[in-house]
């Protein structure tokens, strides 16, 4: 399924009819530079790879751990047909909120695995760099949506409360 997802993202990224540029311009006007758009696209395209890395860490984590819970929600969230930005309506742009969620959950996963004092693999280092370089751009384009996602993940990580995650999933089920 991840392979199909990757193919679809690649296809949308090169589709001349995809409204990615238009959607970004609608949100931030002239700040929609080519560099910004390329960064955002790269992060969206990296999403299947990041999900794969989350799965690797998820599989290695003990039952009931923070990683198991967080990962479980991300896996479920990506199944939804319509979320904050429905993909069917927005094309590639519709995956930006998913990419942001995946990215910040991945950062948390790495933070927790870092606590276990294990050296990071090269793939993790590369993805983290990419996330660091793109996060603020996504925040500029999706200020409200990223705030919601940040609050949801913060609540889950700091307080172990997954109610907002559950609610977000229910609203699209």
């Amino acid at each position: 399924m991840l392979a199909a997802f990757k193919e679809e993202l690649k296809r949308l990224a090169v589709d001349p009819d995809d409204p990615f540029h238009k959607k970004i311009s609608q949100r931030i006007g002239k700040r929609a530079t080519q560099v910004l758009e390329e960064r955002l696209k790269r992060l969206i395209l990296a999403m299947p790879g990041i999900v794969k890395r989350i799965h690797v860490h998820w599989t290695e984590s003990p039952a009931g751990s923070e990683i198991k819970k967080l990962g479980g929600f991300v896996f479920a969230y990506l199944y939804h047909p319509k979320d904050l930005l429905p993909e069917a309506e927005h094309g590639l742009f519709g995956y930006l909120d998913d990419a942001y969620l995946v990215a910040i959950v991945y950062e948390q996963v790495i933070r927790v695995t870092g606590k276990r004092e294990r050296p990071l693999e090269e793939a993790d280092i590369d993805y983290l760099k990419q996330i660091q370089a793109s996060k603020r751009y996504i925040k500029a384009v999706l200020p409200q949506e990223t705030k919601k996602i940040d609050a949801m993940v913060h609540k889950a990580v700091k307080h172990g409360e997954f109610d907002d995650f559950a609610e977000a999933l229910r609203s699209v089920a």
């Binding site: 991840l2 039952a63 198991k68 990962g71 479920a76 069917a88 559950a166």
Partner: protein, 176 residues
């Protein structure tokens, strides 16, 4: 993502170069029952629908639900191409037969738990889907008997809180 997945399955089903029938013959022998290939293909086509229903029910289950706990393993499994029948160019559509086998089995267990606990009302179409997949799963088992046993074993273990087979699968090998 499920929409992208559906498109991929549709494309593989229509692909004249896909070796689905050949894989079935290799497994079953030359005398495959009439209609078996088409039935198995239609079973695989049901995968996105089953996954959609699993997702919709999963999010409403209480956190104490055993099915919910195992559900995250199921969701994670579906993201992995390297499973009992790897999803690669060689296997093509056939590489999804183990996935639909697992998904349909998990869906059936999910419906059973919901029925027993009366947590949610079972929709008529879900009950119909369960009946449909039971028969198709029997047919799939005749083609992938070893994988079917391993899938059942893995799911049984996960319900017992044991990740042995699941972990081995992603660590590079299924225990024989």
């Amino acid at each position: 993502m499920l929409n992208a997945f559906q498109k991929k399955l549709d494309a593989l089903t229509l692909d004249p170069d896909d070796r689905f029938e050949r894989h079935v013959r290799e497994r079953f022998g030359k005398n495959i029952p009439k209609g078996l290939v088409e039935e198995l293909k239609s079973f695989i086509q049901l995968l996105p629908k089953i996954e959609r229903r699993i997702f919709s029910l999963y999010v409403w289950l209480p956190p104490t639900s055993k099915v919910k706990e195992v559900g995250s393993h199921f969701l994670a499994y579906m993201y992995q191409p390297e499973d009992f029948l790897p999803e690669n160019d060689r296997n093509g559509l056939f590489g999804y037969l183990d996935d639909v086998y697992l998904a349909s089995l998990f869906f059936e267990l999910m419906i059973e738990e919901i029925q027993d606990s009366k947590q949610l009302r079972i929709r008529r179409e879900d009950a119909g889907l369960v009946r449909k997949v039971i028969g198709l799963r029997r047919k799939a088992r005749s083609v992938i008997p070893e994988e079917a046993i391993k899938i059942q074993q893995m799911l049984g273990e996960l319900f017992e809180g044991d990740e042995t087979t699941y972990q081995s699968l992603f660590a590079g090998g299924i225990p024989r």
